[in-house]
Amino acid sequence: MNAVARKLCMLGDFGVGKTSLVARFVRSTFSEKYLTTVGVKVDSKEVALPGRTPCKLVIWDIAGRSNLDALNMTYLRGASALLLVADGTRERSLHAALNLLMQSRTLLPDAVVVLAVNKLDLVEQWEVAPASLAELRRTLPVHETSARSGEGVEAAFADIAARLTA
């Protein structure tokens, strides 16, 4: 069965682990070293869904920032889904992710959106309160993830694929 290809953009502040999540999901790798992304890096992976057409996620790993500028808007065009990424140890990165979502809505009003709160392996250092995520879950699918351990990563991307093919 031919897979349906959909563009997915990773959106979030710098250093939250967008590139690491993609590396974990696509290549099952993780690097402790932080290397900033310039521009965009594109990867793809096919996700098999029981009883449905497979979904090929073309993942745009966009350089992290807290506000969308014209360049980011260029990258977002044509996207069907957004994976918002926040770092649980930096509460302001969650605010940044939600801010980016608001800004992107003008360009992508119908895009599927899922929030990944990353660095679950450092949960002892999290600033984001569980109650905040419980509240967010009312309006947004939320996944706690760890690119380092792999916890929740597959589930977050599979959730997007399922929503894209629903």
């Binding site: 250093g15 521009g39 965009v40 044509g78 069907s80 679950l120 949960v123 569980p130 109650a131």
Partner: protein, 527 residues
Amino acid sequence: MSGLDFSAIPTRVERYLRELFWQRVHPLLLCFDPDWRLRDVHGDAAHYGIDVDDPAHGVQGLRDLFIGLPLDEPQDVPFVELGNGRSAHLHLIPDENLFHVLLLDAEIERDRRRVQQQLGHEEVLASQAKSKAIGQLKQIRSELERQHARLEEANALKNALIATLSHEFRTPLTSIFGYLHLADRRANEEPMMRAALHAVRRNATYLFTLAENLLEYGRSETTQPLLNPTPVDLAALTRDLDAMFRPLAEEKGLAFHVTLKLDDAAEPVFDEVRLRQILLNLLSNAVRYTRRGEITADIVWRAHTLSADITDTGIGIAAAHRESVFTPFNRGGHAGSKGAGLGLSIVKRVVEQMHGTLGFESEVGSGSSFRVVLPLAQVRAAARACDATAPRFWLQGRSVLVADDDPDIANLLAALLGDLGFRVRLVADAQSAVLEAMAGRPDVLLIDVELSGLSGNAAVYKLRSRGYKGRIVTLSATATGEAREAALRAGADHYLTKPLNVEQFVHVMQQAASSGWNGGGNGADDP
């Protein structure tokens, strides 16, 4: 100066510029029909890792980059990292029935930007981390001050409660042993009954030792020992030990000998409860770790000094474990065996409290010999009172889910919680704890923080972030304010540390079970 007039540029310069452009920008032009069939190629496709002869893996990657974008409008996508890691500016140029994809090398520019961006980001991250660390230090200082005050108050309460609890435990167990003795004498002709009574005796002995050890361990090491020296009937004590351990030893086919020598006319004065605790633990270990051979206990009262030698022909303790054998919850010397690993640490502590000495010799495979020497104690003018009314815990039928990957600790917790009246369910990992808690809604979730794989804190966080309202108590081996704060931030209502302070544990579990699903919590319970 006006713009450059290209028509006026000398041919040689124009050629130079063209070469420069090609060298630095490496333009690659690919022409496609509307169905993405490649019509023409100009430039070095390999430079960008594109194999034009392999449409599936070469051109497909490019095609993916334009998903969702109209092909009849110009597109400009800067700084795209391609499959071979090289960065390029991508342009899509519509041209009647065709469209062109133009790639221009952005590698040098990307690298330059990356260096600047990396420095900037690292600076911001470091600054944020520094602010956070300063905030944490301030918090730690004020927390330490609060803890200090709380500790002083808790210490006084703890001593009083332990005294009453200890009394409450001992009384019914003493009764159990007494009636066991009577029942044993009348069950001679009934093998099944005898076997049942042996099982009851074995478990009651274990429970007695366990209860005594836990209560002892519940006392803070810094607390002055509450010794209660009284004249001790050593003959009666010897008979009790014989009655308690001979059946257990014989059940395993072991020979068992207890001897007593009274060479001093003076009356032996000791804290009898502590003395029994020492001998019970040593004999209990001897029986547990001996498969064949014999166990002897030689007690001597001579020159105002009591000595006891407990010798077995058991599995022995390796030299490597000699130092750690007295560490709480350490069973290195008897790896793989049952027990909470508290016995020897308790013995050591109690012997020290009684100003005595404890030593042992052991050989793996041949057995161990422990020697305790205790000096005569002074009788206190007034024995401490311990007949205060014990607290009652009405927890019958409450449910608790225990998540701990150490079976010994899990079973110990289950035993304690069962005694309190809880219905106990055990799981061994955090993921199961999340699923079971969401599905079963226990009154209390008791979860170890240091679980392998997903940590206990992560599980608590996941539950809370899914709106879980049940009471959660976390148990950790890390007794720092920082660890406690982290657990409470993750969503725990109470934080306890190992080794378990039984009085505190009981109090916290009672409090958690009473506050129910919507009750308040989120308190620090451990100093």
